[in-house]
């Protein structure tokens, strides 16, 4: 990866995530929340490359979170194992639903995602014996390869694990966009016909994108589960899906690093605002969002983007 401005910003983000909590421990939780939000937003960022939006990715977020809870119920407490399980569970569900969803584009893709997520939300609410209904499920302190650490140690370990996974995730997405299936994602937006006439299935390309985005949402859910020690059906509610989308747009569909910054900015901004005025966060966010949509449609990405030469020489 050559050191262009974007790489530099990424390194900066990593440094911030790694060092700030050491300076002020009470920021650790906030940053962890931002990270858990960044994952689904990154997933949606990938889908935005194909010009598609989902109003239902909270479903995969919730699946990731509940996987941790259910795994613990079955005495699987290892962090790395639950990470793998959350990833697998959300991707498998993504594959099953994606098999249907990949036929749809635009509003219908977005709406059908919404419908599935609301079904999931209601199931989590109603399958009382498995999910505890609206009580949700508690998450205990996990083990690390068999070691159980003290409460503070565990918190630190989970935080840095999350940071590491986030960086890995960003690097993966950037590599994916350099690969053939990733580069073909853009074709979903511009010209599926040509893709078909290059002998490749637009539907499969889109499905792959959907499954990966589901996986990212799932990992985000796994992190939120550990950071709050409790999961509830709210994690699947549509407003959360919309929040992911906002963060993605906030950062800008053009750059995964930007989306990560978007998540950080989003959460920090929320805390700042909420600590001064009660019940006005959504109002202010709404106004900010309108501003970004109208005057900065490419989000924070505009700040350090290199546009490919758009005019003929």
């Amino acid at each position: 990866m050559k050191l262009n401005s974007e790489t530099f910003v990424l390194l900066l983000v990593i440094a911030v995530l790694a060092l700030v909590p050491l300076a002020d421990i009470s920021l650790r939780a906030i940053l962890l929340l931002a990270i858990s939000l960044a994952f689904p937003a990154l997933g949606l960022g990938l889908l935005l490359r194909s010009g598609q939006v989902s109003f239902g990715h909270a479903l995969y977020y919730a699946v990731g979170a509940y996987t941790v809870a259910v795994a613990q119920k079955l005495h699987v407490t290892d962090v790395f194992l639950t990470l793998a399980l959350a990833l697998a569970a959300s991707m498998v569900l993504g594959l099953i639903l994606g098999a249907i969803l990949s036929r749809y584009r635009g509003i219908f893709y977005g709406m059908l995602n919404l419908a599935f997520s609301m079904v999931g939300f209601t199931l989590l609410l109603k399958l009382y014996d498995i999910t505890g209904g609206s009580d949700g499920m508690g998450i205990l302190r996990p083990t690390f390869l068999g070691h159980k650490f003290s409460n503070p140690q565990t918190a630190w370990a989970i935080y840095y694990l999350a940071v590491a996974v986030l960086v890995a995730g960003i690097l993966f997405l950037e590599q994916y966009m350099r690969s053939a299936p990733g580069s073909a994602l853009g074709a979903i937006r511009t010209n599926e016909t040509r893709l078909e006439y290059l002998g490749r299935s637009a539907r499969q390309v889109f499905l792959a994108g959907h499954v990966i985005s589901a996986g990212f949402a799932g990992v985000g859910g796994m992190i939120i589960a550990y950071s709050t020690s409790h999961v509830t059906p709210e994690l699947a509610y549509w407003t959360l899906s919309a929040e992911f989308l906002i963060v993605a747009i906030f950062g800008g569909a053009g750059s995964f690093t930007a989306i990560t910054i978007g998540a950080l900015a989003f959460v920090l901004l929320r805390n700042l605002i909420s600590s001064y005025v009660v019940d006005a966060w959504q109002l202010i966010l709404g106004i900010i969002l309108l501003g970004i949509i109208m005057y900065m449609p490419d989000g924070l990405w505009t700040l350090f983007r290199k546009k490919p030469d758009a005019k003929a020489p």
Binding site: A184, N191, R194, L198, D309, K311, A312
Partner: protein, 252 residues
Amino acid sequence: MTHTPDTTAPILLEASHISVRFGGVTAADDINLQVRQSEVLGVIGSNGSGKSTFLNLCTGYIRAAAGEIRFQGRPITHLSPREITRLGIARAFQHPQLFLDKTVLQSIVLGVACRNRFWSLGTVFQPGYRAKADAIVRTFGLGDYADTLNSALPEGVKKLSDIAIAMALEPSLLLLDEPTSSVSSANKFIIMDTLMPILRNSGVTTIIVEHDMEIVERYMDRVVAWDSGQIIAEGSFSDIMRNEDVRQRVTG
């Protein structure tokens, strides 16, 4: 520029008794046509004569009501465009189908990747693919536009870019739909003069649907004249132009 057709060359594509109709219009009526290895076949006909239909039939875009199309001896009548493409039939479009968010080079590299190992996390700009793509860009004289977004290309260049992407698939049969339509008469020869050598050197068999008689006369080895879903004449340009019908119904 035209070559005398090699009648001994093996048959690459064979359409037998192909019929298809849309509503009342007969687009193809019991068509029989053979295309031989490495020839450049021109399909002419008035608008709505069904000449473009033939390309759509060959690529599986529309299904024949009756008859069969064989490619390299293998029936392709019921295959999807994707499957047919995978067998080695590539096409360009009258209205170029381009990835408007990609540069010319990016699109061609993606084309090369589609032809080779597509499902891999490897960078699409890997040396192997890159070299192939660069070669294509060079031969098509697209060097100046390599890093220009397709959306920003002038019309004529769009056409070339569209064909270049098709060539990235290294097809054994190339289908071109009016490659010089909506191009200034000055540029149309430039396009064809870039294109033909490439086709000749690569030895790719080509079917060109064309309504511009100058182009047909200059570049086609063999011509079939199409009218209301039927082939009314077949042979070299000069041959079929002796045919009264053709002069009237096709070129007239």
